[in-house]
């Protein structure tokens, strides 16, 4: 059963890579998020004054009535759980497409090593293209365009970059240029940007601190995503080579 094999392999690969990223995040990324939240101001509608909201430090809920995990172990637990879930989702994409490759493509079958290369390609698709060339990784409290527009652009960018890389790899030489064009489309359209860049908190000291935190955050997410996707790709390649039987 291809579906069951893919699902089980993706769960195992997702747990390994998501857990590793969760630990990396716990030590390197979450401290930056917590530090940025100390400068987060309450929503303008609830509290029009931009200053004097230090008491909201550590609170990340936008709506005070909505449930959210308690800071500490509960929040860390949910974060690592979410990392694993995202790992499983990405592993499902990766292993499914690798299985499709082995089934249909006239190219060498996947191994752990070529899987790692697929991981680098995924890093380009899911991180470099949408985040480094578009919607930069942001700490909480950064001004940004309407969420739905950014999510829409993110999805478009991921889909077109993936399609572009697939065309570059699989299409005949004459059509390969089309892959670059596909991947360029979201950047020609342009990521949705806020009217003015900056942070919700307008205190100069807060802006200085948040700018530094943003730089650190960008660096550590890029490093972490690199590790995550290469591991995810290599493990997915191994899983497809060993466990996903399509002719059974």
């Amino acid at each position: 059963m291809a579906f069951r094999n893919i699902l089980l392999s993706a769960i195992v690969v997702g747990i390994f890579s998501g857990l590793l990223y969760g630990l990396f995040q716990h030590f390197q990324i979450s401290p930056i998020i917590y530090a940025a939240e100390a400068y987060e101001v309450a929503d303008a509608a609830e509290a029009p004054a931009p200053h004097g909201h230090a008491e909201t430090a550590g609170h990340h809920e936008h709506n005070e009535e909505a449930w959210g995990p308690e800071d500490g172990a509960e929040r860390i637990g949910y974060t690592i759980g979410a990392d694993i879930a995202i790992g499983i989702a990405y592993a499902l994409f990766m292993i499914s497409l690798m299985a499709l490759h082995n089934l249909k493509a006239n190219k060498p079958k996947l191994t752990m090593a070529t899987g790692a290369v697929w991981g680098i390609a995924s890093m380009l698709i899911f991180f470099a293209a949408p985040a480094m060339f578009g919607l930069h990784p942001e700490v909480p409290g950064t001004e940004a365009a309407i969420l739905e527009n950014r999510q829409g652009w993110w999805s478009l960018c991921v889909a077109l970059t993936a399609a572009g890389i697939a065309v570059l790899y699989y299409a005949p030489i004459k059509l390969k240029l089309g892959g670059l064009l596909l991947a360029a489309i979201p950047h020609i359209i342009g990521a949705p940007m806020p009217e003015h860049h900056g942070f919700a908190n307008t205190d100069p000291q807060a802006i200085e601190a948040l700018s530094q935190l943003t730089t650190q955050f960008y660096l550590f997410t890029a490093v972490g995503m690199g590790i995550f996707f290469i591991l995810l790709g290599a493990l997915s390649g191994l899983a497809v080579q060993r466990f996903v039987k399509l002719d059974a």
């Binding site: 579906f3 993706a10 979450s30 990340h60 709506n63 959210g68 499914s96 942001e138 909480p140």
Partner: protein, 60 residues
């Protein structure tokens, strides 16, 4: 296990049903990614908040 049911009902060539299973697996991945990374409900957002930021998903 709906996918299994679909595949056993088909009498068409095996490769088609395998392809269909592969597409189903991608669909499950997309649904999972949406719930954890993009769903707008406060509960989903708050639970996965730090992970959403760390994967550089659009957030807030």
């Amino acid at each position: 296990m709906q996918q299994q049911a679909i595949s056993t009902e088909q009498s068409s060539p095996l490769t088609l049903s395998v392809a269909l299973q592969v597409v189903s697996a991608i669909a499950v991945g997309a649904a999972l990614l949406f719930v954890v990374g993009f769903a707008p409900m406060d509960v989903a957002h708050n639970a996965a908040h730090d992970a959403r930021h760390s994967f550089a998903f659009p957030c807030h």
